[in-house]
Symmetry: C2
Subunit: 339 residues, 2 copies
């Protein structure tokens, strides 16, 4: 199959070397020399056409870019340095050479700035739809990582960046038929906002530097990346740390573009922020006494962080303080990758 | 989706711990502590229903078992110790809870005897067919691995075990409609042979111990596992080592069962041995002066190895000496995973 030859050629072309890479592509396994003690971080993601992405709303390049970014975000949430990537593809018959080239271009565009080296993968035919499996390896100093467990009662809850933009962007890309469109929609959305939001969906940024900063400085007690949405991912932190949490809805960082989009469709911006997936921001917790340090250092590094709530005892549950001051359990409305 | 909950439950149930595993399943990435210098070996395989396997000829348990074995075999060919596995599944709607349970049982049955620990994975829906992506990590002492490159002119070529059994088993499982059946077929095949061959296909054994032996003792100059068939995999060794090779067809180790099968269908046993994939034996090269050592040690360990040919200069090509003494290029008839 001609496509397989192209993938092999692209793989060899994009494959890199590092001083620690004994063998990359071309052997039964890639071989990495770990000369000094360290912690290895390994994550894998399987993305399916028609479930995680489709080519109606995204180009092959964007699909590749986002697939890599999802994994980079997992490594970012560990506070690790992303190092090596393995890419498996199951390719359907209609998938052209141009599409394959675009896909790889996107994958590598996401990986390159982080110095990630392609060291392996596999290729198969697919009877329907494209499947992408990515395995990403990262490293930290031994004994140093941001885990989901570790949040303590009284810790502050923070997020990086703004929330809900990716979901807004996706809904815009899906067009007027999108389920997200409400009949109450009235005002049109300015082109600049539309562009910002769709770009946030098509070209998200994993918070790799932010994760490393939090990890190196020992600032955070726990962390996770926001891939499924705040409501779901906060629950993961709470489960692993055996605590509860309270979010202050009025504090959620929501971009002007996302607010304008919500208004244009008659939606609640906080709803987008709570349930929207694939923002790839970091959610983390830190003791109250670190707050001034956190904000000072964040300012120096030009990292955008927002204090959105507090860790509570487990029996408190996972709740939100609404803008009117009332408290409710956060509904389980996590971004489920199953259409 | 109920199946996802089952997979999560199975994953947590089957997930293990090791003294070096800081975090397994349940965080953004698995975390492994590498306290001493070592080499890490990483391999990934994507297996597709209708391409690499189907449920007409194999149970979910066997499919899981073989998927894990394909990866174990890659690690075996490096002479490495398999350590950690990540399993991604894309599950079609019709795939029942019982099937999922069978698949995991097979995966874990293959991994357990080697002490491999499940540390991560991902799950997705699939619109058609099951997709399995496995990533396996292994280790060796620093500086010690069996690579594909390293074969020298004059080296002897060896294989472990017997060749062609898996293809014969597959053809038997595919039934009388199989392409492998010749109209010249005459004699019936004894039940015991049928059972041996189908088991070799459904329950192959990766030569993990043999690989470690060759690596530790520094006996081999190069190695590869026979997943695509001798004719294709020998070419990989030759390409990476920049050499040619000559195989003596009369020396190929072919089981009595495989010979009987070939006769029953009017096929050439050497043809099955050359082209049959998924035997998961090791093909390796060693200097002539190591021969007596090799055979002596193999006997002690009860490893079955056969000297089947010699490494030649690159310009010689990849050839075979036929039983009548004539020499021919080995045809490119590699087992292509694309139906």
């Amino acid at each position: 199959m001609e496509e397989f030859a192209l993938i092999r050629a692209l793989t060899r072309r994009f494959a890199g070397t590092t001083p620690h890479l004994v063998r990359g592509i071309g052997d039964d396994a890639a071989v990495i020399s770990a000369a000094t003690p360290m912690w290895w971080h390994v994550t894998t993601d399987l993305l399916t056409e028609g479930v995680h992405f489709d080519f109606k709303s995204a180009s092959p390049e964007s699909v590749g870019y986002r697939a890599a970014m999802a994994n980079l975000s997992d490594i970012a949430a560990m506070g690790a340095v992303p190092r090596y990537v393995l890419i498996s593809l199951a390719v359907p018959k209609g998938f052209t050479r141009k599409n394959i080239f675009g896909l790889y271009t996107g994958l590598l565009k996401a990986c390159r700035p982080h110095g990630v080296t392609l060291i392996g993968g596999d290729t198969s035919a697919s009877h329907t739809g494209l499947f992408i499996n990515i395995t990403l390896l990262g490293t930290t100093t031994s004994g140093q990582a941001l885990l989901r467990r570790g949040a303590k009662i009284g810790d502050h809850i923070y997020v990086t960046g703004t929330l809900g933009d990716s979901l807004a962007g996706l809904q815009l890309l899906m067009g007027p038929e999108s389920k997200g469109r409400s009949r109450r929609a009235t005002s049109p959305l300015r082109t600049v906002y539309r562009r910002v939001l769709t770009q946030r969906h098509l070209r998200p940024t994993a918070r790799v530097k932010e994760g490393q900063w939090l990890n190196h400085k020992g600032l955070a007690t726990s962390a996770i990346d926001l891939s499924d949405g705040l409501s779901g991912d906060l629950r993961h932190i709470c489960r692993e740390s055996r605590v509860g949490a309270e979010i202050d809805l009025s504090k959620l960082p929501i971009s002007i573009a996302c607010r304008a989009y919500a208004e244009s469709r008659g939606l609640l911006p906080t709803q987008l922020a709570l349930t929207g997936g694939e923002d790839y921001e970091l959610l983390f917790t830190a003791p109250p006494e670190k707050q001034s340090d956190l904000f000072k250092q964040a300012k120096t590094h030009r990292f955008h962080i927002t204090h959105i709530g507090t860790i509570r005892p487990r029996r408190f549950g996972v709740r939100m303080k609404d803008t009117d001051g009332t408290s409710h359990p956060i509904p389980i409305t996590s971004y489920e990758h199953f259409r």
